[in-house]
């Protein structure tokens, strides 16, 4: 088991290294460098620009640039955003916190809805037609853009527009609730479909048929279904949670929710190199960390994995 954990951790480190290489190449491949935008600033002397270039190692070889940049990044200096006029690390901190909050709330809604759709109504009988063949494929075909706009439209009609700022805990929660609702609808459909596919296999297993035929109540049967699903469920939650880190960008745009996806989008549209590279590093780093955590949790949830060695 220790070797498995070690293997997973070393893989995550390798991915982080590749990620840093990719992010660095991106910053080099994007047209212009840090000084391009600043050149327009009044009061920027050529000497300052030169010093700035030097401080980011832009006058050295590519390898030196990479390690110099990595040195900065590891010490938490992610550069300066000329568009937002703030250090990138500042921006990233607040946005990342909001996105994680949004993703967590979305994941809770998603997991609740999909568990109801799959465990409480397991795939059997007429439900296969109703849920598997009609409801889920339809919801999955609706583009996220449309879901988000429709939820926005419902919000416009359901709530009264306030012309003043309210900052109560409730309105704060509402800011998170609507976008996460828009995100949770397609995700819940996707998760329910995956779970139902998996459950269909479990329904045929001997132990479940035995439990059913000895007259176990519905709650007991749900537990019988859920336990063997746990590793699969954890993996699924991990995949969906990571997809939410950047995938929330559509909902964030529609609801003007200042999260990491919107930050990345604005960095692309404003050609804000440092900001883009930093958001990519942070978001992908977070995703790699989540995947590692899920991998370790799965080892905990599936005792069979603990006995086996690295495959």
């Amino acid at each position: 088991m220790a070797s498995l954990v070690l293997f997973r951790i070393s893989r995550a480190v390798l991915l982080l290294f590749l990620l840093s290489l990719a992010a660095f190449s991106l910053s080099r491949a994007m047209p212009g460098d840090i000084t391009t935008d600043l050149m327009m600033e009044p009061g920027m002397s050529p000497e300052t620009l030169q010093a700035l270039r030097k401080s980011y190692y832009l006058d050295r070889s590519l390898a030196e640039q990479y390690f110099g940049w990595l040195n900065h990044v590891i010490r938490g200096d992610l550069g300066y955003s000329p568009v937002e006029r703030r250090p990138v690390a500042d921006l990233l901190g607040t946005h990342l916190k909001r996105t994680i909050g949004l993703a967590t709330l979305t994941m809770i809604l998603t997991a609740a809805a999909s568990l109801v759709l799959s465990v409480i109504f397991p795939p059997a009988g007429g439900r296969i037609r109703l849920i598997d063949a009609t409801l889920l494929p339809f919801v999955l075909a609706v583009p996220t853009v449309l879901t988000a706009l429709l939820v926005r439209w419902i919000k416009l009609n359901a709530t009264t527009t306030r012309h003043y700022e309210v900052d109560t805990a409730l309105s704060q929660f509402e800011n998170y609730l609507w976008p996460s609702l828009a995100l949770a609808i397609p995700l819940a459909a996707y998760m329910a479909r995956q779970l139902r596919r998996e459950i269909r296999g479990i329904l045929l297993l001997q132990y479940y048929i035995t439990a059913e035929s000895k007259g176990l109540n519905k709650l007991g049967l749900s537990v019988h279904l859920t336990r063997p699903l746990l590793p699969f469920l954890l993996n699924l939650i991990g995949v969906l949670f990571s997809s939410l880190i950047a995938g929330a960008v559509v909902a964030e745009t529609v609801f003007d929710f200042r999260g990491i996806g919107l930050l990345a989008l604005e960095a692309v549209l404003n050609r804000d190199t440092f900001l883009l590279v930093a958001t990519i590093l942070a978001a992908c780093g977070l995703v790699i960390a989540i995947n590692l955590l899920v991998d370790l949790l799965v080892v905990w949830a599936d005792p069979r994995l603990r006995k086996s060695t690295v495959s």
Partner: protein
């Protein structure tokens, strides 16, 4: 299967013949008639007929000779939504098609490379595949978008989007092609072909590629709708096709404005077309999957 193919044929016809099918040119604005609901007809009585000569002096399938007629309503600039959806279909329905072709090409090439050379080439390819797959795909698409100029013409942006979709989408294909080729390589008939001295080209074209055709077809029906959605997302976010040119994504972008969304919710109409296209593609895909790859399971 048949109804799905018919629907797709109609959608592609709308795209191909958009100049004829749509009653107005896509950029034609009538500001006085902005945000009008579907089936809007201006008074005094306008003559709605088939085969009329439109405002641009061309023949159109249907329309009015005087006054205005909006089949699906108009947007905030007073442009006919149906016409814009038809012209938008040209972008939205073909980006996926070209992107899929390029994705299959790149994915298959890298999968083949990894499977047939083995050793360190294989290791590099597999690591690259795993790396790209471990990243959130939307972020990869956004990052790649940053590499290309933003204020390019519609044609350039269109090609850039095709390229981006392929660059973000190849790893899935490469992974499966690699494992399929590895299986085919160990089959007896391949070993026999090698034993009687078949050349590499013969192995490739007679034993490897033909067996991938069903897989390509099934993947294409999955990739096209997912790329369509990606195009819609990019254009919706303002990183794709730009106004005044239309795509299903940037028509929806107008819905970002609270005023437009609450006063004219029919601006979301392209969404309906997207749903229809996606469902049609996936039902064709399911049919092909059942027929061509039996046992692959669901």
């Amino acid at each position: 299967m048949k109804p799905a193919l018919t629907i797709l044929a109609v959608l592609y016809f709308l795209a191909a013949a958009s100049r004829f099918v749509s009653p107005y040119p896509p950029h034609y604005q009538q500001r006085a008639y902005a945000m009008k609901p579907p089936l809007y007809r201006s008074e005094p009585a306008s003559h709605l007929r088939f085969f009329v000569i439109g405002v641009d002096g061309r023949h159109h399938l249907f329309g009015v000779s005087s006054g205005v007629f909006y089949l699906l309503g108009s947007d905030s600039f007073g442009r006919d939504l149906f016409s814009r959806i038809c012209f938008g279909a040209r972008v939205s329905l073909t980006v996926g098609l070209l992107g899929t072709l390029l994705t299959l090409l790149i994915g298959t090439a890298i999968g083949l490379l990894a499977a047939s050379y083995g050793r360190w080439v294989d290791v590099i390819c597999v690591e690259a595949i795993n790396f790209v797959l471990s990243l959130p795909s939307l972020l990869v698409v956004l990052a790649l978008r940053a590499l290309f100029p933003l204020d390019a013409g519609t044609m350039e942006v269109y090609l850039v989007m095709v390229l981006i979709l392929a660059l973000a989408g190849w790893p899935d294909i490469a992974r499966v092609v690699r494992s399929k080729i590895l299986v085919i390589k160990s089959e007896d008939y391949t070993q026999a072909a090698v034993a009687i001295g078949a050349s590499k080209a013969r192995l490739l074209f007679h034993h490897f590629l033909p067996l991938l055709i069903p897989y390509w077809l099934v993947q294409a029906t999955l990739l096209i709708p997912s790329f369509l959605l990606n195009e819609v997302t990019l254009s919706f976010l303002g990183a794709g096709i730009q106004e005044p040119d239309a795509s299903w994504g940037n028509i929806l972008r107008q819905g970002l404005s609270v005023t437009v969304l609450s006063a004219s919710p029919w601006i979301l109409m392209p969404g309906l077309f997207i749903i229809i296209a996606v469902i049609s593609f996936s039902s064709v895909g399911e049919y092909l999957n059942r027929r061509l790859e039996p046992g692959s399971g669901k």
